[in-house]
Symmetry: C2
Subunit: 210 residues, 2 copies
Amino acid sequence: MISPAHLAFAAAFLLVVRSSAPGAAAARPIFDGKPSPSEATATARWLAAQNTWGVLSTISSDLSGAPFGNVVSYSDGVPGEGRGIPYFYLTTLDPSARDALEDERTSFTLSEFPLGTCGEIDPENPTCAKLTLNGKLKMVDLQSSEADLAKSALFTKHPEMKDWPKNHHFKIFKMEIENIFLIDWFGGPKPISPSQYLEFGRNQGSLMYS
Amino acid sequence: MISPAHLAFAAAFLLVVRSSAPGAAAARPIFDGKPSPSEATATARWLAAQNTWGVLSTISSDLSGAPFGNVVSYSDGVPGEGRGIPYFYLTTLDPSARDALEDERTSFTLSEFPLGTCGEIDPENPTCAKLTLNGKLKMVDLQSSEADLAKSALFTKHPEMKDWPKNHHFKIFKMEIENIFLIDWFGGPKPISPSQYLEFGRNQGSLMYS
């Protein structure tokens, strides 16, 4: 007879085998629901992978250096292959891109609330997770392979983007993450370094969700 | 026979009478769905009245003056009586309140997307409305009548707030609005002055929605 412990071991073994199989190196975390509060990095990556829009805050040149938050769409990868880096499709007709070209210090904020998983919990309750990524907003060279990846990431999650007016000169931007602020439970923000965040799931089969 | 023009006049007359009836001075816009793109101020007030959370951006003292966006709950009034001013319930255990006490320049950003009325339209599409209020974040004196109004506004839309831990020393804050950025259609942001925004619906029976 096979015991539950054997089954659990077999399942873990399969996950490790799957993650080290040819081609699996490129795979990124596929989440099956919200990670537990004990898995802060997984929660941060889950929020980045599940949301499709957030608020990008810049230092406003129009408003003499005041902060300015703007609703933008983004993608951190094609569905199921998020890498944690938010890519944006912005035009300098909009103040956020203009601001970032003058001062690249930006903040990008996501909430669990619109995902529907907070239930009756208030959006400000610490158990309804919130993620703020701070860093530099950089334009991505349209001739680079990263631009191809970013376009694919953006256009799969935001299909109408590829038909947006050419004469608005949309450009691809990304955030180079320097600071991560995650609240997903009581007791204040969880410490997550940019490298922990970006490397999550890359070589950690047992942390992957299927 | 009563012509359609007569009926329209009678309806407008009734609205004016209703808005000038005793007690109606305190009434605020009650919206029945999203206002049309030709009614920018109504759309801004609708977004403020319908949402329950947004992103508050500050100049971060922890991050050497970079912008910092944080998910917060708010209320601009009890349901059906929004006044457009966002009230917040914040603790200085959280960086946003600490930042604002050092530099009161803040930005508060709302999206139509989580309301569900954008349908299949992308969150960044200009027809999916976005509102950014910029101004000074001020603490509201807890002994004032404004604090009573703000508490009532906050606690009706966020019932769990009144049970949040006393030892976290939550305080009521409000934004003194100085600049309004609304996108609800093609063609760039709509010009709305703070007084247009705040006075909307106050003495304009014909602009009220029921």
